[in-house]
Symmetry: C3
């Protein structure tokens, strides 16, 4: 019973005219059907690996993954910048135009938005599905190439799952690269996810997940990393570049970590907390905020002004410590005009702890600002007296000498 | 001379009735014998790769690895929770029951405890043996399924070694998943090691090793990460979940790091130092301690009470800084009854340095406690006056304002 | 059209006597020529994978990579110590002598220094070239085996590039293991790079790159990690062992991070800043400096004395925080004789921020020293009064209590 399938040599069981070169989606669905047929015994379902060699493969039909232990892997994440190409007037002399590697061209002529939908009802949750070392390319956006909008999802996991891996992948020009609902012990590591509307969206709820060692940069319309109702999420060792509307967005996330990352943005709101987020640790990160330097993208922003903060904190008992901030915004580019930019803004919540941070700014800035409703925030060695603003008396402050 | 071997196509040299489906252990030993036969020249021993496609493979005979540069790899770590299954009364409607991927069923009918024993005498040490992307499943425990006891070892490296890699593996239901003696520059990265008695045990001595980017969670009987007499061990970027009797246990370990991890436990003693441990750094970690919520496991604990500390420090000149602790234990669950829980307990040693930590607790707690024999500990910005207890005068304390 | 090439089965198009066993370099060049011939269409160039099974392969001719999306991969990084072997008088009873795995013996009888040269003119930049899981062995050094000199380069990338990956590789006995010019979003992760003159050299300029999760240790003549004119470089989770003349060397590097690494050295100048480096973060690292214990290497050093500092800082507005230093140098081994060793030396620049560091030393030392030209340095909780030396009045100091 074979458990290794190569898309270039598989013959579709019903219609041999369907190949990986006409519709890799329909072909993979056929392979998955075969895996299920081959493994009918509840006690013996080891799964399989579907291999995608380097090549260009159109996906017209959505793949539905509903078996555990399936590895879909290629040999090459194949990222290249489509933004640069689309914004170059003449590419007639270019060596190559498109991303490559084991590249799936996400076309979805089936009316669905997802290239890969992972979903199964019943028990147990799907376990140990792996996506590895191939490229999902959304090809183009509309109404124009700098919109990052096209309704396309690279991988959408729609039911609860355990021990999944998304590793070594490349994603480009998808409105949503990776969306995972109700993740447990998910690993998203070593990927290149850029020029997508949103890169990583952890929706529903989740626990004990890690996002590590990735290169990530969303478009101006979406999230580089979004998580809601997660507990024990570890985000570490990532290099998160522009131009997401945020670098990390937490919505009602508790007891999670954002540590030892490098974050770079052209907008305020780099770490953005929505709802009530409790007992999270933000430590050892490098933040760089500057103004969009690339003409084709200079007309976009995330709608937030410089009072919003590079970190915008909502929630209780979070710790923000030992982070470095380098803010450089020409005085004339500050919004609202004449405002004093904010680095760490505690917008709401109780007992947040801000210690041992350092902000370097080209204009006078508030390194820490406490909004009026906040209570019992402690701010230690994170702002000089002049860099600190508290719109409440209910706080503790030890100025950086 | 072939150097790539597929267990599903290899014919046993002596007894063709032995296949990967009857005894993958005996089969791999036969492949290793062939590799040694093929590479007799001291100056030309590049090793080989043994490939295990997705499938269920019983291992009745222990594998002995005694050649350098051997890679044993599969296509799928195949983890799923066996604990949940064993504690579910009726699984008759489940899609699948067992772990999967490239799955070795560790049966060891040969009287040995190890699935893989790595051992060689003479010089040089074994180098660059690699275990990658397959699943070691210990199948069941005794006397009952929640004991995590069965005497089984997944991988035991028993002689000095250099530049080994254990990466992308899955381990489940083994009393000892990974045990490595006398490691030099070992890499344990990207693994899923859970529901094992102990997950990672670095015994003997060792240096310059890294444990990075893993998902780890031992059973209540053992260690998630144990190291003894190591120097320069780097533990970073791991998500360590319950229910090990500790998250990280150091025994006479010096100059090592525990940084940027997420640790979650149902017991005190999350970082547990035994013996004399010197000049280690514990920084940027998130600690979550709560009470076991899952009924099948609520009768177990690690025998330590809430006075033990989430960090229990023994040794000299260690630095504990910029960690976050979220302790939530219902007052009635505290042991001994009525005790004030301890977060960081310096139990013994000289000149330890505790700075810039933050503990959030649901009951009054001692964020830092210095035992009576400790000397010259410095505690800075890690506890308010009321959160601090020193049973010795020999210390320096700057209270968190 | 095949896109997966195995070097052991490929027949050279012009001269069938050239095989992977006579000259893997010429053979790979022939495969690359075929890839280019097979993919003439600017709009369809997915690239390919060239596979190197375990084996010993001489490289006499330099490989030139000038196509995007090419993955060159093996099955085994194959590191073993050549230093130990060369310094062992009698190895006649050794099991094996040389490194292994998928091992390329870098011989370069073609007059070139590089095993792999990656270079292409025109647009766009090369993208997503991947080197993975094989071994580059420079074989020997001259004038003697402890010189780490032989003029050999493992991988040299000589033109601007995007989204490259160097992962899982082994490098040994090359004067320059990895040299990359003008990198954008490069990933160097999971490699074993040791006993090379220099390990990683990022030259020219670069941005948004990560060096993560590696085991690295250069020879006394070169760099473990060197970067110049980089921005947003993230160096995290590496175990950097001796004996490089530095562990990390920055030359005019801005807004980059060195976090959560373990660094071990036998010389001062572990982090060495040259030129003007701005707004970098050095945090959560463990530094160990001791004296070379191995007789064959005791005659070498990097020429720096103990006043140079374990960290030697030049530049403005850098943050050095929450690092641990363990310095152990016998009094008689200190240079210049009788000097007081320095841990963090701020040699030049403005507004550097040194906070919450801890140095443990076997002799009296200056934990922080500010040179006379420095201005506005802040030193907080990083030295006691007696451990601090400022050769300028222009600073702020809060002593560790």
């Amino acid at each position: 019973m074979p458990t290794v399938f190569d898309v270039t040599t598989w013959t579709h069981s019903a219609d041999p005219s369907i190949t990986c070169y006409t519709d890799i989606g329909a072909l993979i669905n056929d392979i998955i059907a075969r895996i299920k047929q081959d493994q009918p015994d509840q006690a013996a379902k080891p799964g399989a690996v579907i291999y995608i060699p380097p090549g260009d493969y159109p996906l017209r039909t959505r793949v539905t993954v509903d078996v555990s232990y399936l590895t879909i892997k290629g040999s090459g994440h194949g990222f290249t910048s489509s933004s640069i190409r689309y914004n170059t007037p003449d590419t007639s002399n270019w060596h190559e135009l498109w991303p490559g590697g084991s590249r799936i061209k996400v076309q979805n002529t089936d009316g669905n938005g997802e290239a890969f939908l992972v979903s199964r009802s019943g028990d147990p949750r799907l376990s140990s599905v792996v996506f590895k070392d191939f490229c999902l390319d959304g090809l183009s956006c509309s109404p124009h190439q700098n919109s990052y909008l096209n309704g396309k999802y690279g991988i959408k996991v729609n039911t609860a799952n355990d021990a999944f891996r998304i590793e070594g992948m490349g994603f480009v020009y998808l409105e949503h690269a990776v969306t995972v609902r109700d993740a447990d012990a998910l690993s998203i590591s070593g990927n290149f996810i850029a020029e997508c509307g949103s890169c990583i969206e952890l929706v529903g709820s989740g626990q004990a997940t890690k996002i590590t060692d990735n290169l990530i940069g969303a478009g101006h319309v979406g999230f580089s990393i979004f998580a809601e109702q997660h507990e024990g999420l570890l985000i570490t060792g990532n290099n998160i570049f522009p131009r997401g509307k945020s670098s990390v967005h937490f919505k009602n996330v508790n007891r999670s970590s954002i540590t030892a990352n490098r974050l770079h943005s052209f907008y305020p709101g780099m770490i953005d907390f929505e709802g009530v987020n409790k007992e999270n640790l933000i430590s050892g990160n490098h933040f760089r905020r500057e103004v969009e330097p690339w003409p084709p993208m200079q007309s976009y922003n995330n709608g937030k002004d410089d009072l919003y903060g590079l970190i915008h904190l909502r929630g209780d008992s979070n710790m923000v410590s030992t982070n470095f901030f380098a803010l450089n915004v020409a005085a004339g580019a500050i919004t609202p005009p004449g405002a004093t930019p904010v680095v760490i803004r505690v917008e709401s919540g109780d007992a947040n702890h801000i210690s041992n941070n350092r902000a370097v700014t080209n204009v006078a800035a508030k390194a820490v600002l406490l909004a009026s409703t906040t209570t019992a925030t402690k701010v230690l060695d994170s702002a000089t007296a002049s860099e600190f603003q508290a719109d409440t008396q209910n706080h503790t402050f030890r100025a950086t000498p």
